[in-house]
């Protein structure tokens, strides 16, 4: 049968535009909200995911990467003694304070790692060299956070909790989940610059995390359990497990995830209602025509197909335009330093959700058509 749905839409362009706008609204809101959420989630666990460690060892009950406590240095030797452990490196993450040129302070997250090591996440540098971190007081900051840090240039001297530091390079796309910018530095400088590691621990040189490489032929999970069994008061996490724990913390325990999800659902509801109303109005206007189709032998399924076809056409148009707009917004957001991710899985999920939304939006019209008496054709 001819595509009556498409022809009806083509003829009623105003309603088509309104319906498609409704879908675009929903698609853009859902895509950008979820894209931002994915960006935030990625940032939250980026240093874990990008690391080359098989295991992360921390104090017990660490809920997220950002809020860890120091582990005594001597535990490193105990970990190294566990069967299957090939290599252990320290990794520090601690909040601190960056003195701004204006005289104010900016909270920062100091990341200290073994510059010669193999297990820390690699830095993607847009300026400077990683070797420069060997220099005294050298730090690297992310280019997207420069405005927060008072626009430091390479070679500028700055102050972190009263101690001298020199900016030697910029990273690209390495933003923290918290609003505190990452400050990358060497392990020892990190101990001095971080609140956690600098206060009262000098004599014992604490570490916040130990990164562990498991030897070839050893099962990561077995080694993880062995570390917890042989070393007291530490918790060993697989990289994926620690990444998930960190993401879960930010998404679920802080309510951030629910906020984004709520906004997405709201977008779907508003878009769905706009689409549903447009389809319903179109259906009411065309009731005599639907009545004729019923009279000449069309089944309810045939009529339902017309409405669903209209809904899906609006959905496909709205989805295509909405994704293009979302991609534009993503580019704009990323260039402004806000991470918005649009992986194909997200686009696929949005397409699926949009399809479901369209089908649901068609229900009101289909319900109305179910009550249509074919005999009404003789009264109109």
């Amino acid at each position: 049968m001819l595509s009556i749905g498409w022809r009806n839409l083509k003829r009623d362009r105003l309603r088509l535009c309104v319906a498609v706008l409704g879908v675009i609204f929903a698609v853009v809101l859902v895509t950008v909200e979820l894209g931002m959420l994915l960006g935030l989630v990625r940032n939250a666990s980026m240093l874990i995911d990008d690391s080359r460690a098989d295991l992360w060892v921390s104090t017990v009950d660490v809920k997220t990467f950002d809020f860890a406590n120091p582990v005594e240095q001597r535990k490193r030797y105990l970990i190294e003694g566990v069967a299957g452990v090939e290599r252990v490196e320290e990794f520090n993450a601690s909040f601190s304070s960056w003195k701004l040129p204006s005289g104010g302070n900016m909270n920062v997250q100091v990341i200290g790692f073994d510059v010669r090591g193999q297990l820390a996440p690699p830095l993607e540098l847009s300026a400077g060299r990683i070797e420069d971190l060997h220099n005294r007081d050298a730090v690297i900051v992310d280019e997207s956070e420069l405005s927060k840090l008072g626009h430091p240039k390479i070679g500028d001297l700055v102050e972190i909790i009263g101690q001298r530091a020199e900016v030697v390079g910029y990273t690209r796309g390495m933003r923290s989940f918290t609003t505190a910018p990452f400050i990358f530095t060497s392990l020892r400088r990190g101990e001095q610059y971080g609140y956690l590691t600098s206060i009262g621990w000098q004599s014992r040189r604490p570490a916040v995390y130990f990164l562990v490489k498991v030897g070839a032929g050893y099962d990561v999970e077995t080694v993880r359990r062995s570390i917890e069994a042989h070393v007291s008061n530490v918790e060993a996490h697989t990289r994926a497990g620690f990444s998930m724990r960190t993401r879960k913390y930010w998404l679920l325990e802080t309510g951030v995830g629910l906020g984004f999800l709520g906004a997405s659902i709201l977008g779907l509801l508003v878009g769905g209602v706009i689409l549903s109303q447009s389809l319903y109005a179109m259906t009411l206007e065309k009731l005599p025509e639907y009545g004729v189709l019923r009279a000449i032998g069309a089944s309810m399924r045939d009529l339902g197909r017309v409405v669903v076809e209209q809904a899906l056409i609006c959905g496909v148009l709205g989805l295509a335009i909405g994704i293009v707009i979302s991609a534009g917004l993503q580019a704009a957001a990323n260039s402004a330093g806000t991470a918005v991710l649009l992986p194909w899985q997200l686009v696929g999920a949005v397409a699926f959700v949009t399809t479901v939304m369209c089908m649901l939006a068609a229900l009101a019209s289909i319900h109305r058509l179910r009550r249509l008496e074919p005999a009404m054709v003789f009264r109109t």
Binding site: P288, E289, V292, I296, G297, F378
Partner: protein
């Protein structure tokens, strides 16, 4: 001998539930036969039950009581899907306001009907030719005159070769000339294709194109009038003039009065 294609016995339709004080019998106690190859006109004042009777014949409404058979299919107690199948195969409908699908061209309107009725969509052009509108195939309903729209509607009703054509006030919105053209088309179809054409109308001019006129009042048959055909069709038995109409639920065998 004329073939009885539509038969009904003490047929009734009530709107509203049984025992409900507001329930109304739109049609009651109608016993009637309608023949293939004839134009049968249902006349009567508004509210006399003509359209309800037409709707029951077309399988659009279920009878409340009595018995109704169209093309050999008993429609009493049919489910909606069964009536759907009946409508698809046995009845063509023509409406007062044409009700063509506004977003489709004349040809596309016919293709939809042909497709629904399992007929070859390529016949759309033939149907348009039949109603003399070949050149308007690509015109949208809004671009056609009232008479042209009604002719497209007739072509649509002919999709699938239904043995019964049901028309509700087909000339109501047409001027005299267009009305004549439409009725001539329906009569030609009835006589040449052996189709039973049932027309509900208030328009007295339609009588001139009818073989039989049935008058209704208050949901009941009031009078049946047989008209002489001006043309004799070979191989067919012409209905005999000089029979009658009768108050209240007349059957063919009860005719008392004749009018031509």
């Amino acid at each position: 001998m004329l073939e009885k294609i539509i038969e009904m016995h003490r047929l009734g339709k009530r709107y509203g539930a049984e025992g409900d004080a507001t329930a109304v019998w739109a049609v009651r106690g109608v016993t009637l036969s309608i023949y293939a190859g004839q134009v049968t006109v249902l006349m009567g004042p508004s509210g006399s039950g003509k359209t309800t009777l037409l709707s029951m014949i077309g399988g659009l409404l279920s009878p409340t009581e009595g018995w109704l058979s169209v093309c050999g299919q008993v429609l009493n107690g049919c489910s909606e899907p069964q009536r759907e199948v009946f409508r698809r195969g046995s009845a063509g409908f023509i409406f007062q306001s044409c009700n063509l699908l506004a977003a489709l061209t004349a040809e596309e309107n016919l293709r939809v009907a042909l497709s629904l009725r399992g007929d070859d969509e390529g016949r759309a052009q033939d149907l348009l030719k039949l109603v003399g509108l070949s050149e308007k195939a690509q015109a949208y309903p809004a671009e056609l005159s009232g008479g042209q729209r009604q002719r497209v509607a007739i072509a649509r009703a002919l999709a699938g070769h239904p043995p019964v054509l049901l028309a509700d006030e087909p000339t109501a919105v047409l001027d005299a000339e267009q009305g004549r053209q439409v009725m001539a088309l329906l009569r030609k179809r009835a006589h040449e294709a052996d189709t039973a054409v049932v027309v509900v109308t208030h328009d007295p001019r339609v009588r001139d194109f009818s073989d039989r006129v049935i008058e209704m009042e208050d949901g009941e048959l009031n009078r049946i009038i047989r008209r002489l055909r001006k043309t004799v069709f070979p191989g067919r038995t012409r209905p005999q003039p000089g029979q009658a109409g009768l108050k209240h639920s007349l059957s063919e065998g009860e005719v008392r009065h004749v009018s031509t």
